[in-house]
Amino acid sequence: MKTAAAIVVGCSSGGFDALRVLLGGLDPGLSQPLLVCCHSGSETIELLCELLGRVSPLPVIAAAERHAVRGGHVQLAPTGYHLLVEPDRRFALSTDPRVNHSRPSIDVLFASAAVAWRETLIGVVLTGASADGAEGLRLVRRAGGCAIVQSPVSARVPAMPQAALDRAGADYCVPLADIPPLLNRLCLPRP
């Protein structure tokens, strides 16, 4: 793949702990944006941002409607809205019906990001109990992007990564602990 321009991450049940591991292992020098859709069920996203911000070397903020996607920042989908990325890489929100019982839905984020970044996008599917993200990851790969799936055996809840593997396949299927170094390798300029 070409040098990665952006990363999208989807997770559901068990996602909070998985995100702590993933974000905690990132290199502080990453300049790509990292967009996260996590079905958290909490009322607002602010608390999640704060808790993840404590372990992440990159600032963690809520994605803001119409604002440009920010490089070197982790940006979370707000509760109750689908998060999309416009072709000009600004955030958009939608209150369209739930997809896979979820809003925000990973499929919706991934599908729009695949259009915005095409072959320079990395999609990551982590632990979770639904099949959300599987179709999105298929679209990421179809647009030429790279797919990373947490190996189901290493996932707290294997259904979601398994569904992603079944539907989209993966370029890398690795245990959670290996994902941050892999992202660092794919995203940092080669020496």
Binding site: L84, A92, L93, D96, A111, R142
Partner: protein, 286 residues
């Protein structure tokens, strides 16, 4: 898997042609809608109508005029809830309505009313605050199908639990059950709630101001519009509002990039309630 960037480029062209067909054949201009959601909806619409590409959908758009209501409904996706974001309805009840109470007649414009859930929520608020007799709500939407359903006020009964919780959290003084009757799996809102509501088709992208409003409620509608169309709508609202009138937008909407945002002052920033700034002189929208 083979990368298919060409396919995405083709789809962008197909999308443009579809938008042109809607405009030139039916007079509905979606060119100023935010592209990511529009693309998603058009893809879904094509799938739902059994078209294997957007081009096929464009063909049917041109040749089957009877499809128009379905096309509009698919492109606008009227989803809503009663008392969604209860804190907002609480703020309207506790902070805005007391100020509107000084007017002998209160006009409220709800733009993008979908299936009417929020219109009836407003009617209940006004009723409970003793203001409904002198209020009129103009509920408008692009989609005639959506308006027809809004007028009926019939919803799946499975929503009742969540809506009741929302109603309580919004400071409801009674019980939501007092306002509907349930039969089988449907609930029907009390006909009396409709007595001061006028439903009308109105396209924010092309139609003009039609009333003088004290409060404009337009939540989660502008999120589907590009910046210029959002800005155009803010001008419409400004020109519709009386001096000191209120505008309520959706909880996560930003007007940071809108030239006309300066006409509105934050009244309750968290609830996205704005007030027409005192020094704003209404100008006709061209």
């Amino acid at each position: 898997m083979q990368p298919l960037p060409d396919e995405l480029a083709c789809e962008a062209i197909e999308l443009e042609l579809f938008v042109q067909a809607m405009h030139r054949r039916h007079g509905y201009d979606f060119s100023q809608y935010a592209p990511a959601s529009l693309r998603r909806r058009v893809r879904q619409l094509a799938e739902r109508l059994g078209c294997d590409s957007i081009s096929a959908l464009t063909g049917r758009t041109l040749h089957e005029p009877r499809l128009l209501p379905q096309l509009l409904e698919g492109l606008s996706v009227p989803v809503s809830d009663m008392f969604r974001d209860p804190a907002v309805f609480r703020a309207l009840r506790e902070q805005v309505l007391p100020l509107l109470a000084s007017y002998p007649q209160i006009n409220i414009w709800q733009a993008g009313c979908a299936h009417g859930e929020e219109v009836y929520s407003l009617a209940i608020l006004l009723e409970e605050e003793g203001l409904y007799e002198r209020s009129r709500i103009f509920a408008t939407d692009l989609s005639a199908n959506a308006l027809r359903q809004a007028e009926e006020g019939i919803y799946p009964v499975r929503e009742a639990q969540q809506w009741s919780r929302n109603y309580q959290a919004a400071g409801g003084t009674r019980s939501l059950v007092d306002y509907y009757s349930a039969r089988y799996d449907l609930l029907k809102l009390d006909d009396r709630l409709r007595r001061n509501i006028t439903f009308a088709q109105h396209n924010l992208a092309s139609d003009r101001v039609f009333c003088e409003a004290h409060l404009v409620l337009c939540r989660n509608v502008l999120i589907y519009f590009s910046n210029p169309l959002q800005d155009h709508c803010l001008a419409l609202f400004r020109d519709s509002l009386v001096r000191g009138g209120f505008l309520c937008l959706g909880m996560c909407e930003s007007i940071d990039f809108a030239g006309n945002a300066g006409d509105f002052a934050a009244f309750d920033a968290g609830a996205r309630i704005y007030r027409l700034a005192a020094n704003t002189v209404a100008m006709a929208v061209p």
